[in-house]
Assembly symmetry: C2
Homo-oligomer: 117 residues x 2
Amino acid sequence: MLLQTRPLDLMFQALGDPARRAMVERLSRSPASVSELARPLPMSLSAVVQHLRVLEDSGLVRSEKIGRVRTCHIRPIALSQAEQWINDRRISWERRLDRLGEYLANNPEDPEPGEKP
Amino acid sequence: MLLQTRPLDLMFQALGDPARRAMVERLSRSPASVSELARPLPMSLSAVVQHLRVLEDSGLVRSEKIGRVRTCHIRPIALSQAEQWINDRRISWERRLDRLGEYLANNPEDPEPGEKP
Protein backbone atom coordinates (compact mmCIF):
# COMPACT_ATOMS: atom_id res chain seq x y z
CA MET A 1 0.00 0.00 0.00
CA LEU A 2 2.81 2.38 0.84
CA LEU A 3 4.86 1.59 -2.26
CA GLN A 4 3.10 3.48 -5.04
CA THR A 5 3.01 6.81 -3.30
CA ARG A 6 6.41 8.25 -4.26
CA PRO A 7 5.06 11.06 -6.50
CA LEU A 8 2.80 12.36 -3.71
CA ASP A 9 5.71 12.10 -1.24
CA LEU A 10 7.88 14.29 -3.45
CA MET A 11 5.08 16.78 -4.16
CA PHE A 12 4.10 17.34 -0.54
CA GLN A 13 7.77 17.45 0.54
CA ALA A 14 8.41 20.06 -2.17
CA LEU A 15 5.48 22.16 -0.92
CA GLY A 16 6.73 21.94 2.68
CA ASP A 17 9.16 24.82 2.16
CA PRO A 18 8.13 28.52 2.05
CA ALA A 19 10.66 29.46 -0.67
CA ARG A 20 9.46 26.66 -2.92
CA ARG A 21 5.82 27.58 -2.30
CA ALA A 22 6.69 31.20 -3.18
CA MET A 23 8.18 29.91 -6.45
CA VAL A 24 5.07 27.83 -7.23
CA GLU A 25 2.93 30.87 -6.37
CA ARG A 26 4.95 33.04 -8.77
CA LEU A 27 4.80 30.44 -11.56
CA SER A 28 1.06 29.95 -11.18
CA ARG A 29 0.72 33.57 -12.40
CA SER A 30 3.05 33.19 -15.42
CA PRO A 31 6.20 31.39 -16.54
CA ALA A 32 9.43 33.00 -15.30
CA SER A 33 13.17 32.82 -15.76
CA VAL A 34 15.32 31.57 -12.90
CA SER A 35 16.53 35.10 -12.14
CA GLU A 36 12.94 36.40 -12.08
CA LEU A 37 12.10 33.60 -9.64
CA ALA A 38 15.10 34.48 -7.49
CA ARG A 39 14.51 38.25 -7.36
CA PRO A 40 11.99 38.42 -4.45
CA LEU A 41 13.63 35.61 -2.48
CA PRO A 42 16.09 36.38 0.35
CA MET A 43 18.68 33.81 -0.79
CA SER A 44 21.47 33.19 -3.27
CA LEU A 45 20.80 32.24 -6.88
CA SER A 46 22.38 28.84 -6.26
CA ALA A 47 19.96 28.21 -3.38
CA VAL A 48 17.09 29.06 -5.74
CA VAL A 49 18.50 26.62 -8.31
CA GLN A 50 18.56 23.90 -5.63
CA HIS A 51 14.93 24.59 -4.72
CA LEU A 52 14.04 24.57 -8.41
CA ARG A 53 15.61 21.12 -8.74
CA VAL A 54 13.42 19.82 -5.88
CA LEU A 55 10.34 21.29 -7.58
CA GLU A 56 11.30 19.73 -10.92
CA ASP A 57 12.00 16.33 -9.32
CA SER A 58 8.54 16.45 -7.71
CA GLY A 59 6.92 17.14 -11.11
CA LEU A 60 5.37 20.42 -9.93
CA VAL A 61 7.55 22.55 -12.19
CA ARG A 62 9.29 22.03 -15.52
CA SER A 63 11.90 24.24 -17.12
CA GLU A 64 13.42 24.59 -20.56
CA LYS A 65 16.57 26.37 -21.62
CA ILE A 66 16.42 28.42 -24.79
CA GLY A 67 19.70 30.12 -25.58
CA ARG A 68 21.04 31.34 -22.25
CA VAL A 69 17.70 31.70 -20.47
CA ARG A 70 16.05 28.87 -18.52
CA THR A 71 12.28 29.45 -18.32
CA CYS A 72 10.23 27.72 -15.62
CA HIS A 73 6.58 26.67 -15.91
CA ILE A 74 4.08 25.29 -13.43
CA ARG A 75 2.72 21.78 -14.11
CA PRO A 76 -0.89 22.18 -13.01
CA ILE A 77 -1.65 18.49 -13.50
CA ALA A 78 0.84 17.61 -10.74
CA LEU A 79 -0.58 20.26 -8.43
CA SER A 80 -4.06 18.88 -9.02
CA GLN A 81 -2.92 15.40 -7.92
CA ALA A 82 -1.91 16.81 -4.53
CA GLU A 83 -5.19 18.74 -4.38
CA GLN A 84 -7.13 15.58 -5.27
CA TRP A 85 -5.55 13.60 -2.46
CA ILE A 86 -6.60 16.18 0.14
CA ASN A 87 -10.01 16.52 -1.50
CA ASP A 88 -10.60 12.75 -1.24
CA ARG A 89 -9.88 12.90 2.49
CA ARG A 90 -12.36 15.75 2.93
CA ILE A 91 -15.06 13.80 1.03
CA SER A 92 -14.40 10.77 3.21
CA TRP A 93 -14.68 12.92 6.34
CA GLU A 94 -17.88 14.64 5.14
CA ARG A 95 -19.44 11.23 4.37
CA ARG A 96 -18.75 10.25 7.95
CA LEU A 97 -20.56 13.39 9.15
CA ASP A 98 -23.50 12.54 6.86
CA ARG A 99 -23.71 9.02 8.30
CA LEU A 100 -23.57 10.45 11.81
CA GLY A 101 -26.37 12.89 10.90
CA GLU A 102 -28.51 10.06 9.52
CA TYR A 103 -27.90 7.98 12.61
CA LEU A 104 -28.94 10.83 14.91
CA ALA A 105 -32.04 11.52 12.77
CA ASN A 106 -33.08 7.84 12.94
CA ASN A 107 -32.31 7.44 16.62
CA PRO A 108 -33.74 10.51 18.34
CA GLU A 109 -33.29 10.36 22.06
CA ASP A 110 -36.61 10.14 23.86
CA PRO A 111 -37.01 13.20 26.02
CA GLU A 112 -36.64 12.40 29.69
CA PRO A 113 -39.89 12.46 31.69
CA GLY A 114 -40.59 16.02 32.72
CA GLU A 115 -38.23 17.41 30.06
CA LYS A 116 -39.68 19.71 27.44
CA PRO A 117 -39.98 17.90 24.08
CA MET B 1 6.80 37.14 3.22
CA LEU B 2 8.34 33.80 4.10
CA LEU B 3 7.93 34.22 7.84
CA GLN B 4 4.24 33.54 8.45
CA THR B 5 4.09 30.26 6.61
CA ARG B 6 5.16 27.84 9.35
CA PRO B 7 1.79 26.06 9.70
CA LEU B 8 1.70 25.26 5.97
CA ASP B 9 5.35 24.10 6.12
CA LEU B 10 4.52 21.64 8.88
CA MET B 11 1.33 20.44 7.19
CA PHE B 12 2.87 19.76 3.80
CA GLN B 13 5.96 18.19 5.43
CA ALA B 14 3.66 15.94 7.46
CA LEU B 15 1.81 14.88 4.30
CA GLY B 16 5.09 14.09 2.52
CA ASP B 17 5.32 10.65 4.10
CA PRO B 18 3.25 7.64 2.98
CA ALA B 19 2.77 6.26 6.50
CA ARG B 20 1.49 9.61 7.75
CA ARG B 21 -0.83 9.96 4.76
CA ALA B 22 -2.12 6.42 5.48
CA MET B 23 -2.84 7.55 9.05
CA VAL B 24 -4.67 10.69 7.85
CA GLU B 25 -6.58 8.53 5.38
CA ARG B 26 -7.62 6.16 8.17
CA LEU B 27 -8.65 9.01 10.49
CA SER B 28 -10.68 10.73 7.79
CA ARG B 29 -13.00 7.70 7.96
CA SER B 30 -13.33 7.66 11.77
CA PRO B 31 -11.37 8.34 14.95
CA ALA B 32 -9.01 5.52 15.95
CA SER B 33 -6.80 4.43 18.81
CA VAL B 34 -3.02 4.42 18.30
CA SER B 35 -2.99 0.62 18.04
CA GLU B 36 -5.78 0.69 15.43
CA LEU B 37 -3.71 3.22 13.47
CA ALA B 38 -0.63 1.02 13.76
CA ARG B 39 -2.29 -2.28 12.75
CA PRO B 40 -2.06 -1.95 8.92
CA LEU B 41 1.33 -0.22 8.95
CA PRO B 42 4.55 -2.24 8.45
CA MET B 43 6.41 -0.59 11.33
CA SER B 44 6.82 -0.67 15.10
CA LEU B 45 4.33 0.96 17.44
CA SER B 46 7.00 3.44 18.52
CA ALA B 47 7.54 4.49 14.87
CA VAL B 48 3.78 5.06 14.59
CA VAL B 49 3.86 7.18 17.74
CA GLN B 50 6.68 9.28 16.20
CA HIS B 51 4.63 9.81 13.03
CA LEU B 52 1.61 10.67 15.14
CA ARG B 53 3.65 13.33 16.93
CA VAL B 54 4.58 14.92 13.55
CA LEU B 55 0.90 14.89 12.54
CA GLU B 56 -0.13 16.48 15.85
CA ASP B 57 2.61 19.13 15.63
CA SER B 58 1.34 20.02 12.14
CA GLY B 59 -2.21 20.44 13.45
CA LEU B 60 -3.62 17.80 11.10
CA VAL B 61 -4.44 15.39 13.91
CA ARG B 62 -5.33 15.73 17.57
CA SER B 63 -5.45 13.00 20.17
CA GLU B 64 -6.87 12.63 23.64
CA LYS B 65 -6.14 10.04 26.26
CA ILE B 66 -9.08 8.64 28.18
CA GLY B 67 -8.05 6.03 30.72
CA ARG B 68 -5.40 3.92 29.00
CA VAL B 69 -6.53 4.54 25.42
CA ARG B 70 -5.32 7.45 23.29
CA THR B 71 -7.87 8.24 20.56
CA CYS B 72 -6.81 10.16 17.46
CA HIS B 73 -9.03 12.48 15.41
CA ILE B 74 -8.53 14.28 12.11
CA ARG B 75 -8.61 18.10 12.22
CA PRO B 76 -10.41 18.86 8.95
CA ILE B 77 -9.91 22.60 9.34
CA ALA B 78 -6.13 22.14 9.07
CA LEU B 79 -6.47 19.86 6.06
CA SER B 80 -8.67 22.46 4.39
CA GLN B 81 -5.93 25.11 4.84
CA ALA B 82 -3.52 22.98 2.80
CA GLU B 83 -6.27 22.35 0.24
CA GLN B 84 -7.00 26.08 0.07
CA TRP B 85 -3.38 26.95 -0.66
CA ILE B 86 -3.27 24.56 -3.64
CA ASN B 87 -6.72 25.70 -4.75
CA ASP B 88 -5.60 29.35 -4.78
CA ARG B 89 -2.69 28.42 -7.08
CA ARG B 90 -5.06 26.64 -9.45
CA ILE B 91 -7.39 29.65 -9.54
CA SER B 92 -4.43 31.90 -10.29
CA TRP B 93 -3.29 29.58 -13.09
CA GLU B 94 -6.81 29.29 -14.56
CA ARG B 95 -7.12 33.10 -14.57
CA ARG B 96 -3.94 33.25 -16.61
CA LEU B 97 -5.46 30.81 -19.11
CA ASP B 98 -8.60 32.98 -19.28
CA ARG B 99 -6.52 36.10 -19.98
CA LEU B 100 -4.61 34.22 -22.67
CA GLY B 101 -7.91 33.09 -24.24
CA GLU B 102 -9.21 36.68 -24.22
CA TYR B 103 -6.00 37.93 -25.80
CA LEU B 104 -6.18 35.33 -28.56
CA ALA B 105 -9.86 36.13 -29.18
CA ASN B 106 -9.10 39.86 -29.50
CA ASN B 107 -5.98 39.37 -31.60
CA PRO B 108 -6.85 36.77 -34.25
CA GLU B 109 -3.97 36.16 -36.61
CA ASP B 110 -4.79 37.23 -40.15
CA PRO B 111 -4.58 34.19 -42.37
CA GLU B 112 -1.53 34.25 -44.65
CA PRO B 113 -2.24 35.02 -48.32
CA GLY B 114 -3.23 31.80 -50.08
CA GLU B 115 -4.00 30.08 -46.72
CA LYS B 116 -7.52 28.80 -46.18
CA PRO B 117 -9.40 31.08 -43.78
